[in-house]
């Protein structure tokens, strides 16, 4: 059973002579519970593909179904709600709200999902404990290292137990030790919680814990490598 189904996805930017075709007709699917890495050189279109699948962007043409929903047909508000209730995100630059403490950052999507304040707080603290940052609930992002911020970002993404987790180059700004820790965390989420994960990465060593690696080149999938 595929939780993500994308058919003949294209994505172009600009018009006329300046038109750039970043994705040139991609068919892509992810099974429920699968951990897929998307790899490729810079400009290959890997992040662009992930943005289409994660409902952050709209393809120029093609069909995408996520968790049984035709996401192309959704309105702006429906897309926001869909992202809130079905998807989780880990961004390259951590993307934490600087004015909120670690636990408030994690609570934010939970509160938006209408959890009671105390319940959201408990869930947030459990998620922060889960990424090994117990005791740093009230720290502001500026008071945390890059690796710690990324772990808070992971806690925020998984606290509401979304069906699919999209991870965009999570180790890009981290040293090797922190990067390994973050990848281990993401892998653990997949193994223990059974969450579907789509991860974009440059580094093959970090993709080795995935079920499958999809290679992109010049807007097309050129190779798929099944690992487990």
């Amino acid at each position: 059973m595929n939780i993500i189904e994308a058919k003949n996805i294209t994505r172009s930017f600009g018009t006329g002579d300046l038109k750039t075709n970043v994705l040139k007709g991609i068919d892509f699917s992810v099974a429920a519970g699968e951990f897929v890495a998307i790899m490729g050189k810079s400009g290959a279109g890997k992040s662009t593909l992930m943005y289409q699948l994660s409902v952050l962007d709209e393809p120029t043409s093609g069909e995408i179904s996520v968790n049984g929903t035709d996401i192309i047909a959704l309105s702006e508000n429906e897309r926001t709600n869909f992202r809130l209730n079905t998807l989780g995100y880990v961004f390259q630059n951590y993307a934490l709200v600087p004015d909120l403490s670690a636990e408030e950052n994690v609570m934010l999507p939970l509160l938006m999902r209408n959890y009671d304040w105390q319940v959201a707080k408990q869930m947030a603290r459990a998620a922060i404990d889960g990424v090994g940052l117990a005791g740093k609930y009230t720290n502001l992002p500026a008071e945390l290292s890059g690796g710690e911020q990324q772990r808070v970002s992971i806690a925020r993404a998984v606290a509401g137990k979304p069906k699919i987790l999209f991870v965009d180059e999570p180790t890009a700004n981290l040293d090797t030790v922190s990067g390994t820790l973050v990848i281990d965390l993401i892998t653990r989420v997949n193994k223990e919680e059974g969450q579907t994960i789509v991860m974009v990465t440059h580094e093959r060593e970090y993709a080795l814990g995935c079920n499958r690696i999809v290679y992109l080149e010049d807007g097309l999938i050129t190779k798929t490598e099944t690992l487990i």
Partner: protein, 418 residues
């Protein structure tokens, strides 16, 4: 509700984590805007309000009774006096007799009759000094010499506007007496009758006419006028409760008792000279205009502040939308910040206005030629202006947030142009 909860959290934390200096500066600007809105127009209106208050306190009283339009004097003044004596609301009243007079100052020392005499034509007001003082506190307006005693005769008070040294620049237009001081003798002439009076004091006040008259005991004026009639020119009434509503009620009682068939009965507000009410309206418009400019400046300030704040957090806003936080929550966060700035600034402004400025200007009125300017800030008017400022500030905070929030989510996250 959930959007509101998130908006409050985001907005509150943004305020909490913002630089104290920046927040202080914004609140300071809002406070100045509030003061501009309330105090500037309040002082403009206060100039006229001060003038009105002076006319009420020093000239007209709370109710003024004057002759009917087709009569020279109030009819049956004694009947009206007896009526006034029966009304508990009336604290005091002063019956005044007015008469045009000629005053000559140098009649004793004038040697050369080819030169202009030191004289002036003016209005004399015959009063009961004690009664007049109870109604208008006329004695408080003595700037030189002393007030009239009830049991003495042969003395006169001269309004400062009749004297050369108080009317510099106007003397050529109005005419004035030169070198007249308390203790000097002047000759007062009505028709063919003349009498010598000693100047006992000089009266000066910034209230309609008070300083342009001369005052003497009513018996002496009537004697000089050779009048046996006790019908007066006007009766100024001071009420125990000086509020306009009470004046209207007492006026109604007087009309019920038929006084309006003998004289014209008007409350102080009805009797105010038209130019005062016209100036008051003009100043009100001027104050509102200045206030409106202040509001526009404040709204642009808030717009720029929120816009810069929101544009510098564009990526963060994109990420918030990306993780499923809806637009409304983010907009509420920025509107709340605007509300905080507007409320804090206005609160400070109100504290300064009501806690300091009003009291200060009451104790130290601004010395204008025609009135002592005070600061008028009616609570209801202040509330109305605050609400206008508040709503416009919220709008000024909402618009930039709305502009940024509606941008493409992914473009915001990646810092790309829309």
């Amino acid at each position: 509700m959930r959007s509101f909860r998130i908006g409050v959290l985001l907005g509150f934390r943004q305020i909490q984590r913002a630089s104290v200096w920046t927040t202080g500066l914004i609140i300071f600007v809002m406070m100045l805007t509030f003061l501009n809105l309330i105090a500037v127009s309040g002082i403009l209106v206060g100039l006229i309000e001060g003038s009105e208050r002076a006319v009420q306190e020093k000239s007209l009283g709370d109710i003024i009774i004057t002759a009917l339009d087709d009569e020279d004097q109030i009819l049956q003044t004694e009947t009206i006096r007896r009526t006034l004596d029966t009304l508990p609301e009336v604290a005091s009243y002063s019956i005044r007799y007015q008469q045009g007079v000629q005053i000559v100052a140098n009649y004793k020392t004038r040697r050369d009759f080819s030169t202009e005499p030191n004289s002036i034509g003016t209005q004399a007001v015959g009063i009961d000094p004690a009664a007049e003082n109870r109604v208008t506190a006329l004695a408080e307006n003595i700037v030189e010499g002393e007030y009239l005693n009830p049991d003495e005769s042969g003395y006169i008070l001269i309004g400062a506007l009749n004297l050369d040294r108080y009317t510099a620049g106007f003397a050529d237009i109005t005419g004035s007496l030169k070198d007249v001081y308390p203790g000097d003798s002047v000759r007062v002439t009505i028709g063919n009758a003349s009498r010598e009076f000693t100047v006992k004091g000089i009266i000066n006040a910034k209230a309609g006419g008070v300083a342009s008259f001369v005052y003497l005991p009513e018996k002496e004026l009537r004697r000089l006028n050779n009048s046996v009639s006790r019908d007066a020119s006007e009766i100024a009434i001071r009420l125990a409760d000086t509020r306009p509503a009470t004046a209207l009620a007492v006026k109604s009682v007087l009309e019920d008792q038929g006084v309006d068939s003998l004289a014209k009965v008007r409350t102080f507000q009805e009797a105010l000279p038209k130019f005062i009410t016209d100036i008051k309206q003009t100043f009100n418009i001027l104050g509102t205009f200045i206030g409106a400019v202040g509001i526009i400046v404040a709204s642009i300030t808030i717009f720029i502040i929120i816009f810069i704040n929101a544009i510098s957090r564009r990526q963060q806003i994109g990420i918030l939308k990306g993780i499923g936080i809806d637009r409304k929550a983010i907009e509420i966060a920025y509107v709340l910040q605007s509300a905080f700035y507007a409320l804090s600034g206005s609160l400070l402004g109100a504290l300064i206005t009501y806690g300091v400025l009003i009291g200060y200007f009451d104790r130290n009125p601004i010395d204008f030629p025609f009135s002592d300017g005070i600061l008028v800030a009616e609570p209801l008017g202040t509330l109305y202006r605050f609400l206008v400022l508040f709503v416009i500030t919220l709008f000024a905070g909402f618009v930039p947030a709305w502009i940024i929030v509606r941008q493409n989510t992914l473009n915001s996250i990646l810092g790309r142009k829309d």
